[in-house]
């Protein structure tokens, strides 16, 4: 039996694998499908016992109502977009050079610094939330998109540095030496050589930073009141207020997660390579 053939295994193994994969698909997809389905069903269909899935109950009215009535959702999405974009771009702009320095520019005690940086990301949010809240309220920056963005920046920066540093460590040093011989300075080498060959991990880091900032709830809850509320807060509030209008609740939740799901799906290969691999090594 050839090795390739062996890898697929005998009949029972293939059956087991097939069954396992079907289970996996159901387990992962069912809740998401139900989210999508609930959002396009009439309320009366949803509160039937069991739910009535017949096609005549399909409707877009949940979306229309949610988009039309809940101005908070639109503002939340916009706020989230602004904060997430800021946190993403700023963390890449600061983190990529820092990662390059830690990976390749013989900064003294670079790996110790890198670990300390990563360790800050592991801090429980609650531990820093209290003093951060005190400081930000003293500065009068509660309910302010900028202060929220800066806080997210500080959470994203360590991850961005970590992902990119792991990638930069693997760049063959001949490239940088060739660039130096060709007349590029340190910054020129970084800009013309290192960054262009690092697009996949930069993309992974960007998607990661964006998704984290878009989804963050705890600090948004503490640091915003009204005008700077981000979309998770809107959804949570919505779920509290209209907890019996299930279709609309799901429609709102779906709208709020679509942007990040699209990003994650589009860039899944980069995420897998850039992030999963990066967490496994130091």
């Amino acid at each position: 039996m050839s090795y390739a053939h062996h890898r697929r295994g005998g009949f029972s193994l293939r059956l087991l694998t097939g069954a396992g994969l079907v289970l996996f698909v159901i387990w992962s997809a069912a809740p998401i499908l139900w989210l999508a389905l609930s959002s396009v069903l009439e309320q009366r269909a949803l509160i039937a016992r069991p739910p009535d899935l017949s096609p005549q109950n399909l409707t877009l009215s949940n979306f229309i109502t949610v988009i039309g009535s809940a101005a908070a959702l639109g503002r939340g999405m916009l706020n989230s977009l602004i904060v997430a974009l800021f946190a993403t771009l700023a963390s890449l702009a600061l983190g990529a050079p820092a990662a390059y320095a830690l990976a390749r520019l013989s900064v003294p005690r670079a790996s110790a610094i890198a670990f300390l940086v990563l360790a800050t990301q592991m801090l429980p949010s609650i531990a820093i939330a209290i003093p951060l809240f005190l400081v930000i309220s003293r500065l009068g920056l509660i309910d302010n998109l900028f202060s929220l963005g800066v806080v997210y920046l500080s959470f994203n920066l360590p991850i961005v540095i970590w992902i990119l540093r792991n990638f930069f460590l693997g760049i063959p040093d001949g490239l940088e030496k060739a660039a130096a011989i060709d007349g590029a300075g340190v910054i020129g080498t970084f800009w013309h050589i290192v960054l262009p060959i690092s697009l996949p991990p930069l993309g992974a880091a960007a998607v990661f930073a964006f998704v984290e900032a878009w989804n963050e709830f705890f600090f948004a809850l503490i640091l915003t009141r009204q005008s700077a509320q981000t979309v998770p807060l809107v959804i949570a509030a919505f779920a509290g207020q209209y907890q019996t209008v299930f279709g609309q609740m799901m429609a709102a939740a779906l709208i709020s997660v679509v942007p990040v799901i699209l990003l994650a799906v589009l860039f899944r290969d980069w995420i897998v390579r850039g992030f999963a691999d990066g967490m496994m090594k130091g």
């Binding site: 890898r7 992962s28 809240f133 005190l134 340190v186 496994m280």
Partner: protein
């Protein structure tokens, strides 16, 4: 005209310049709060009109912890939650990683299914599951009743034990895919010559799994365990949306307790003391994580 500098000197100087902004930002935003949080835990803090009144009280906050029934409850809840979650997540994720590493599991759909739950906001996830678990109209009730598994609709989040376990289930669902990605990355890093050699040596599949796969995956599994533990200690959004800690504080986890004490009861010093407990637990785990990944990192340099 800059003073002459060699390649190595220029790189070192540039390195410090490139690194400095990030370090400054991290120190400015996180450095102060960390120190402050440690200090707050030893203080009694009261919100007086227009200001904050702070007073050192030594270990008083920590002494309160020892006597506090709710804290003890939350600590036990958290330990149970974290331990159960780690075991479940790593086992399920490992099984999924094995499935996806099989030639059948290569299809793109499977990778998509792994990243989607990761991308969904914890709050949206909580809202979704609140609906799925709804006592009157939830699809879980509907499904189980149609299948004849239950007679009447259940209040899944209504009794302490059931509520905590459903909270666990929901978080496991959300956490599994990412850990599966980590473990899949680890699996794909096992050199295929090892498998080929095991095949040549006539090892059975189980033997190959036990003697080739698992030993090569030890580091990856260890990292997944530690990271998942750290993530489990951070749960907040889910509790906040799904149960608010109820019923009867059955789902109060440490993080949520610290939030409630601080921001609802405005007992800031005591909240900080609880936060410090989580802080210490996490730091210990973080050190463990660093120990685990470090040898690989040093070798790579």
């Amino acid at each position: 005209m800059p003073s002459p500098a060699t390649y190595e000197q220029r790189r070192q100087t540039a390195g410090l310049f490139l690194l400095a902004p990030s370090i400054v930002v991290l120190l400015a935003i996180l450095g102060y709060p960390i120190v402050e949080s440690l200090l707050l835990a030893f203080q009694k803090v009261q919100l007086a009109a227009g200001g904050i009144d702070r007073q050192f009280v030594g270990l008083a906050n920590f002494q309160r912890l020892v006597a506090d029934e709710t804290f003890r409850r939350a600590l036990l809840n958290t330990l149970y939650f974290a331990a159960a979650e780690v075991v479940l997540v790593v086992l399920i994720a490992f099984a999924i990683a094995l499935l996806l590493n099989h030639p059948f599991g290569r299809a793109g759909l499977f990778r998509i299914l792994l990243v989607v739950p990761w991308a969904i906001a914890p709050v949206a996830n909580a809202v979704l599951w609140k609906w799925i678990l709804n006592a009157n109209y939830g699809v879980l009730n509907g499904l189980l009743q149609s299948l004849g598994i239950i007679d009447v609709y259940q209040v899944w989040l209504g009794t302490p034990v059931s509520a905590l376990n459903f909270l666990l289930l929901v978080d496991v669902w959300k956490s599994v895919p990412f850990v599966a990605l980590l473990l899949l990355a680890g699996l794909q890093r096992v050199p295929s010559v090892l498998y080929k050699a095991a095949y040549m040596d006539g090892a059975s599949r189980l033997q190959t799994l036990m003697h080739v796969t698992l030993p090569s995956m030890r580091a990856a599994i260890a990292v997944a365990v530690v990271l998942q533990t750290i993530w489990s200690l951070r749960i907040f959004d889910l509790v906040f949306v799904l149960t608010r800690g109820g019923p009867a504080d059955a789902t109060v986890l440490l993080n949520f307790l610290a939030y409630r004490v601080t921001f609802n009861f405005l007992d800031i010093g005591y909240g900080a003391a609880i936060a410090n407990v989580i802080f210490v637990m996490t730091i210990l785990l973080a050190i463990l994580y660093i120990r685990l990944v470090r040898p690989a990192g040093e070798a790579a340099r």
